[in-house]
């Protein structure tokens, strides 16, 4: 143990010596150095120019929004005095405006005051079409942002907006300092390397050095609003490598205090955590690994204008009985177990959380192979030639099942293929490089949107805690097709006027209870009632922290580092 300490001591100098501080919450910077590892390295610290979680999370140590989402998905004021609502008068009765009031006396880390003008500037920055802002969607429907006084700013919308907590909420939409970014707006945005690499913020830390795609060093922000925080004087944010070695550095060697997104084989992670050096933490959000079934015909012999469009229904999957049978044949609990361990739980819902939007739909959780067979049988799909594959009217029950290249997904494909074989469905498997599959290039035949296959699998979720925009993706108009350059995320090409009508109702409903009811109904329409999407696993986040790091509250609705100001060193 002494050799070990001596050697680590030399390397981790500051980190190990700070254990001496007795009262961790007493004083800013009293807990020394914090080491964070992200196995994907941040390439910039301006979340408006990236969209990736590695960048937004790193930036969340420095930049802050008006409000964040806590670990339950609830809204918590940060730079704002309170979360505006209709009840407290912050949101207009007609739902067309929201007025934010900043806390008094807030300053940037350079000592200058934060004002409502910085908030307005942030909106101008992102809404300038030439900025190429990754978070532009946060400002959709915003007519203008008006500075009322130094501490008050009003966001006016084009139309009634029942859920106005998009702009300036959460890690994706923090406030930038006008003084620093004034010359970086529009086409000049990418040229401002210095500002993008070391933004001035209001958060608990400020940047001392940024090395792109490698490492960031930070120190406690001397102007942070709580004089006792953060407990750590300095921090190193190291990036790069792979999840396994990041997990090793936190759970086995103890070189790092916090490791992000350690989605490893469940048994590997469990074995690493046995040493007691660190522990894993999980949190669930709305990320769902699902199958999507193509309701249109992807046959390669069809012309490009018709293939995989509403012009030609799918010869097999337009039969709802087949879709139901495919869902029934799957053992979701087993998939969650083999694929994600502690970070996965089986689900039948497209919207598994927050609780108010989650349907009580659990029937699919029990695998039912005989039931699936009976359904196919009843629908006239019979294996008449004894080759193990059913057919009807000369059409064989054969499906092409594609997904992105990824070890867990290929395991899933193999198991699902086996289950489907048991009910008489033949499956051909295919996997595509993630950068192509998710690339959205309209010229490529292999994208999620083009869906030149019968079944595909991937995971998706929604920003923030409100599923309206996410559910609205499944309206008829959002089906990818040649006329839209294959854009749109109604990937199954689902089209039901009742669904579209309910979406319109959701868009004008302000009451939270009613919104929950509508969202649950919409969820059931595409899952339980029609099996257009077949949810498989509700995927959580897994991260790990050293046993000596206290205060970590894993949050899947905001940055994982959302409460880094409250982190402290526990005396060993």
């Amino acid at each position: 143990m002494t050799t070990r300490n001596a050697l680590f001591g030399a390397i981790l100098g500051a980190m190990t010596s700070v254990g001496a501080a007795p009262e961790v919450w007493a004083e800013r910077g009293s807990d020394g150095h914090l080491n964070i590892i992200y196995w994907q390295a941040p390439s910039t610290l301006n979340p408006y120019l990236s969209g990736g979680s590695k960048e937004t999370e790193a930036a969340s140590l420095v930049l802050e929004p008006l409000g964040r989402f806590d670990e339950t998905g609830a809204l918590v004021p940060y730079l704002a005095r309170e979360i505006p609502t209709v009840a407290n008068g912050g949101v207009a009765e007609d739902l067309t405006a929201i007025t934010w009031v900043l806390r008094e006396g807030l300053t940037w880390s350079d000592g200058t005051p934060l004002t409502a003008r910085d908030v307005k500037f942030t909106a101008d920055y992102c809404m300038d079409p030439q900025t190429g802002c990754a978070q532009r969607a946060k400002f959709d429907g915003v007519r203008e942002v008006v500075v009322v006084d130094d501490l008050t700013v009003t966001v006016a919308f084009d139309q009634p907006t029942p859920y106005p907590y998009t702009a300036f909420m959460g890690a994706l939409s923090p406030i930038l300092q006008q003084a620093q970014f004034a010359d970086c707006i529009g086409a000049a945005a990418p040229q401002c390397t210095e500002a993008n690499f070391a933004p001035i913020g209001t958060g608990p830390f400020r940047v001392t050095e940024f090395r792109t795609n490698d490492v960031i060093t930070m120190e406690a922000n001397p102007a942070y609003r709580d004089p006792a925080k953060p407990a750590f004087a300095t921090l190193t944010f190291k990036g790069g490598g792979d999840a396994a070695s990041a997990a090793r550095a936190v759970l086995e060697t103890g070189e790092f205090d916090y490791g992000w997104n350690l989605l490893l084989a469940p048994d590997v992670l469990a074995r690493m955590a046995t040493g007691g050096t660190g522990r894993t933490v999980t949190a669930f959000g709305a990320m769902v690994e699902r199958l999507e079934l193509n309701l249109t015909n992807p046959a390669p012999d069809l012309p490009g204008s018709i293939r995989s469009t509403a012009a030609e229904p799918h010869p097999i999957l337009s039969d709802p009985e087949v879709r139901a049978a495919l869902s029934m044949a799957i053992d979701r609990a087993l998939l969650a177990e083999i694929g994600f361990g502690i970070a996965g739980r089986p689900t039948c819902n497209l919207i598994p959380a927050p609780a108010i939007y989650a349907s009580d739909n659990t029937a699919c959780l029990t695998q039912d192979i005989p039931g699936a067979k009976a359904r196919l049988e009843r629908a006239g799909w019979i294996d008449s030639d004894g080759d193990g594959v059913r057919e009807r009217d000369g059409i064989r029950l054969k499906l092409l099942f594609q997904t992105a290249t990824n070890a867990v997904r290929q395991d899933f494909q193999a198991v699902i293929k086996q289950w489907w074989a048991e009910i008489g469905v033949e499956t051909e498997l295919r996997n595509i490089a993630p950068s192509v599959f998710f690339g959205g290039d309209p010229g490529s035949p292999d994208t999620v949107q083009k869906f030149y296959a019968d079944v595909q699998m991937y995971a998706n979720s929604f920003d923030g805690t409100d599923p309206q925009a996410y559910l609205a993706q499944l309206t008829c108009a959002n089906a990818p097709r040649p006329e839209t350059q294959w854009q749109g995320m109604n990937v199954p090409r689902f089209c039901d006027p009742a669904y579209d009508a309910l979406i319109e109702e959701l868009k004008t409903t302000g009451d939270l209870e009613a919104r929950g009811r509508i969202a649950r109904a919409l969820n059931d329409m595409v899952t339980r009632d029609s099996h257009v999407t077949i949810p498989l696993v509700d995927r959580g986040r897994v991260s790990a922290h050293a046993a000596t790091l206290g205060g970590v509250v894993l949050n899947s609705w905001d940055s994982e580092l959302w409460n880094a100001a409250d982190w402290y060193r526990i005396d060993p």
Binding site: T3, R4, L7, F8, A10, I11, I37, A41, S43, T44, N46, L49, G51, G52, S53, Q130, G132, C133, A134, R136, A137, A187, A189, P190, Q191, T193, N196, F197, R211, T212, N213, D214, V215, T236, K238, G239, G240, G241, D242, S245, R248, A249, E252, T253, E255, F256, A433, P434, S435, V436, F438, G439, G440, D441, S444, D446, Y458, N460, Q487, M489
Partner: protein
């Protein structure tokens, strides 16, 4: 000699241009999209606006011409400004990475120290082990030393670095706790203490790279030396009664070095290209890691610039190797074409 060198240099220029264009065309034709790494929650119209902001909509030849101008004119001017404090480049736009929105060359320069320290040292140590080991093994073929060297070389050759790297981490970082498993690029050597830290964090990655390089080069050295020892003038030297040491080092070595110099020279640019896997395993985050992350992110300006720099280095190394032949083999220096002169 100068004429020959100039001729060689003249040939390299179109080579470099051609390489640049081929790389650019390949990258352009390759599937993938710089927006692919972004979360699906970002809607398509936002993606389209971002693509436009990056200049992705311009035709390929325009983009290539633009890059060529920036890389061969603007960037060298910037480098001069940086070194000499001049203001030649002014406000002209540099090659900007799509991922980081920062000038590509700044990142490259930032990455050079750790790459040279770790990969360079690994290569150097590999060579320093390989040459004597190869020579000794060739001078005493089938001896115990030769057998052990062959065994180690086979191991070094066939064990992939992602295996040896992780193995070393598990034994020396996790098990024994002697060395860190993650390289700290922010460490500045200012005292004996920090020098110790620097050396300690270099031990594992340098060992991995040195083992791999030593394995390859020692085999070349051994084979070349075995060939050289078969030559006629060696028999003459031995017949004159020279000691074996004098025969090997004095007479055979010079000839044996000719093919080895080629291998060494062509291997040297690899130092700059980084050891992609070893850098990933130990998070050295040098040029190799930079290249692989740029490829994953479809960051064309970064990939293009790095690959062309590597191509330039390889062309330059080729040139140097060619010129070094002249020193080792006077027949080449005298202008006798090797093909004719040696039959």
């Amino acid at each position: 000699m100068p004429g020959r060198a100039l001729r060689r240099i003249a040939v390299t220029l179109p080579t470099v241009l051609l390489i640049s264009f081929v790389i650019f065309a390949l990258l352009d034709a390759a599937p993938g999209d710089p927006m692919a790494q972004m979360p699906l929650t970002i809607p398509p119209d936002v993606r389209a606006a971002m693509r436009e902001a990056l200049g992705l909509d311009a035709p390929m030849l325009t983009q290539f011409g633009h890059w060529l101008w920036q890389f061969f004119v603007i960037e060298p001017l910037h480098l001069m400004d940086r070194l000499l404090g001049t203001g030649l480049a002014g406000e002209s736009a540099r090659v900007i990475s799509w991922q980081t929105r920062a000038p590509v060359m700044d990142t490259v320069i930032e990455r050079l120290p750790q790459t040279l320290w770790v990969v360079g040292l690994g290569y150097l140590i590999g060579v320093l082990i390989a040459l004597p080991a190869g020579i000794y093994a060739a001078a005493r073929p089938h001896s115990r030393f030769d057998r052990i060297a062959t065994l180690l070389a086979t191991l070094g050759f066939s064990l992939p670095t992602f295996f040896t790297g992780v193995l070393l981490i598990v034994v020396f970082s996790v098990g024994l706790g002697w060395f860190p498993s993650i390289y700290d690029t922010t460490l500045r050597v200012t005292s004996l203490d920090t020098l110790g830290q620097q050396l300690r964090q270099m031990v594992l990655p340098v060992s991995v790279i040195a083992l791999y390089n030593a394995a390859q080069i020692s085999r070349f050295m051994r084979a070349a030396m075995r060939d050289a020892l078969q030559e006629g003038h060696i028999r003459t030297a031995r017949a004159k009664g020279l000691s074996e040491r004098a025969v090997v080092l004095g007479h055979a070595l010079r000839g044996a070095m000719l093919p080895v110099v080629t291998v060494l020279a062509l291997g040297a640019p690899q130092v700059f290209a980084g050891a992609i896997i070893t850098e990933q395993v130990f998070r050295v985050n040098g040029l190799g890691q930079l290249l692989i992350t740029a490829i994953q992110a479809n960051d064309l300006p970064m990939v293009q610039t790095l690959t062309v720099i590597f191509a330039l280095l390889i062309v330059a190394a080729n040139l140097l190797a060619d010129l070094a032949y002249g020193l080792l083999d006077p027949r080449i220096k005298a202008g006798v074409d090797r093909h004719h002169g040696r039959g």
